[in-house]
């Protein structure tokens, strides 16, 4: 397989409501990524588009709706979908487009517009449940996270304040992100713990917000990067993905086995045998604060049940030994589902090329890992990148 680089990134503001249509948001992000790479649409061989359920936008087959804004017309164009895992999965699709030798330069555009769904996008989440087993119980999606969080906390005897500390860290980290929706330099663990209980143990501030937003990346071959004199390409070192059963009541929710499986594939390719030592920083998927901890363990960045202690000891702070979510994450920057690519793979690219500005990790970082999580809460996509 050929070496593959990320050479440009763009994103819109993440906000509760944006005036721009999905199309307009896609175009803004795509144009910005091309500008950053110093390219024009004519340099692009193929386009990958990523977005989560159509029902949020209310436009079925929305890949077609945004086609022109993504530069897809007259090119090989494909939409990929792995639910909430799409944010890290569409860059993986772009990776294999280039690694295979089929294309030299691929534009990836991800978009989500959740404000269109009335009165609240939560109503649409109701449609993902099994119609016979689950829907008669009138479930809210937060239930499943609450059940997973409770199981995780009970099995490892985790204190809630150590979970809340993740929300505090990420919302504070987001202060350095110009697109952030919920940055808060003054938030405390007490604020999170005293916020409204939605579905115990999940409190309001444990949850990332629904957002509108788009992001884009430019991905290319080694030769393309050289001939176009790209200054600081960042390399895909390993990719992986994996999925568990949709009978979610048949598996133990305390550990994300599917993520450990996905990471194993990515680490093998990246020749990583000791993730804690060989990886310098991480962007674990954090739609909920406990998920960052869950994902650190699934990624093998620490032992099972150890992530809360690392958080408590400051190891995961931006200036710590293993910074996690230096971007501010979904909790701080926002959660336009697939568009979180901009703060996951996008943040790896910016940190590893030294372009993260105010958010730059103060010590040298050479290897980063990120994951996203989705489908029926049993899928993960993993990307390892190197400077």
């Amino acid at each position: 397989m050929r070496k593959v680089a990320c050479i440009g990134a763009g994103m819109t503001l993440f906000r509760r409501r944006l005036q721009e249509t999905p199309k307009e948001m896609c175009w803004e992000a795509a144009r910005m990524a091309l500008d950053q790479a110093g390219l024009e649409i004519g340099d692009v061989d193929a386009v990958v588009f990523g977005s989560a359920p159509d029902a949020f936008d209310g436009i079925h087959m929305k890949g077609e709706n945004v086609l022109d804004a993504c530069g897809g017309i007259g090119r090989p164009y494909v939409r990929v979908f792995t639910g909430g895992g799409t944010g890290v999965f569409s860059p993986i699709a772009a990776y294999w487009h280039v690694a295979s030798g089929l294309f030299d330069c691929v534009l990836v555009v991800n978009e989500e517009k959740m404000s269109s769904c009335q009165p609240h996008p939560q109503s649409v989440f109701g449609h993902i449940w099994d119609p016979i087993l689950d829907r008669p119980l009138k479930p809210n999606l937060v239930w499943i996270f609450a059940m997973e969080m409770n199981r995780y906390m009970t099995v490892h005897n985790v204190r809630y304040e150590d979970v809340a500390a993740v929300a505090v860290k990420n919302k504070r980290n987001a202060v350095g992100h110009p697109c952030a929706q919920l940055a808060d330099p003054h938030i405390t663990v007490e604020d999170v713990m005293n916020s409204e209980v939605m579905a115990w143990p999940v409190h309001r501030l444990d949850i990332s917000p629904p957002s509108d937003g788009a992001s884009a990346l430019v991905v290319c071959s080694e030769e393309f990067a050289r001939t176009h004199r790209i200054e600081s390409p960042v390399w895909f070192a390993g990719v992986g993905w994996n999925i568990d059963t949709t009978f979610w009541t048949d598996r133990d929710l305390y550990f994300p086995e599917y993520l450990a499986n996905a990471a194993k594939i990515a680490y093998k390719q990246a020749r990583i045998t000791d993730p804690r030592r060989q990886i310098d920083f991480a962007e674990p998927y954090d739609p909920f604060d406990y998920k960052e901890l869950h994902h650190m363990e699934g990624l093998g960045l620490c032992k099972k049940g150890e992530a809360p202690r690392l958080t408590r000891e400051g190891v995961t702070q931006r200036d710590g030994d293993l910074p996690t979510c230096p971007s501010g994450g979904l909790l701080g920057v926002g959660n336009p589902i697939a568009a979180t690519m901009g703060i996951k793979v996008g943040e790896l690219y910016l940190q590893l090329s030294g372009q993260a500005g105010q958010r730059q990790i103060p010590h040298e970082v050479r290897t980063g890992v990120t994951n996203a999580w989705g489908d029926l809460m049993q899928f993960s996509s993993v990307v390892v990148m190197r400077a």
Partner: protein
């Protein structure tokens, strides 16, 4: 994103602007569905109406699969037989929910969670409500039993079980 970039695209709208000022086009989809329950679930629902829980067994991996299914996803072969499981089990996890389907706040919280069912393979169970519990008494590991609706009120639905409640002495 970088020092080179000066403009971050996107124009934020307040709720007031969104609903009153900006031009918004509205649409309400009218999509209705009727699902065939399928081979495994049709029997499962019929048994619920009779006040029983049923699973399928796989003679290859020896698992008792609950909820039932007509093929074993691990062995990738048809399952072999119908097996009744008990209406008792263990709370694997739970939540106390203060929000409804649409994230609207509710006054009386709902106890909901996963019960692994006795007689099925380990950890196999269903999501359901819990009753006759309080925040102080519900816990992971609690032994519970299905509280069925009276026979004439059952209609072949998971709601034929009202909720799962703590086991009583002698049960």
């Amino acid at each position: 994103m970088t020092a080179k970039e000066v403009r971050w695209p996107g124009k934020e709208l307040t709720a007031k602007e969104f609903y009153n000022k900006v031009t918004v086009t509205r649409y309400r989809p009218e999509a209705k569905f009727a699902w065939s329950a399928g081979e495994a679930m049709s029997r499962f629902l019929a048994e619920l109406q009779r006040g029983r829980l049923i699973a399928r067994s796989c003679s290859s991996c020896k698992r008792v699969l609950f909820p039932p299914r007509m093929f074993c996803e691990e062995c990738f072969r048809p399952t072999d037989a119908w097996v009744y499981v008990r209406d008792t089990g263990t709370i694997e996890t739970y939540s106390i929910s203060y929000i409804d389907l649409d994230a609207k706040r509710i006054e009386t919280p709902v106890y909901v969670g996963v019960v692994s069912v006795d007689g099925a393979s380990p950890k196999m169970g269903i999501m359901h409500y819990f009753g006759e519990v309080a925040p102080e008494t519900i816990r992971i590991g609690l032994r519970v039993k299905a509280e069925w609706k009276p026979a004439h009120e059952r209609e072949g639905s998971v709601l034929d079980i009202r909720y799962w409640r703590p086991l009583r002495r002698g049960e």
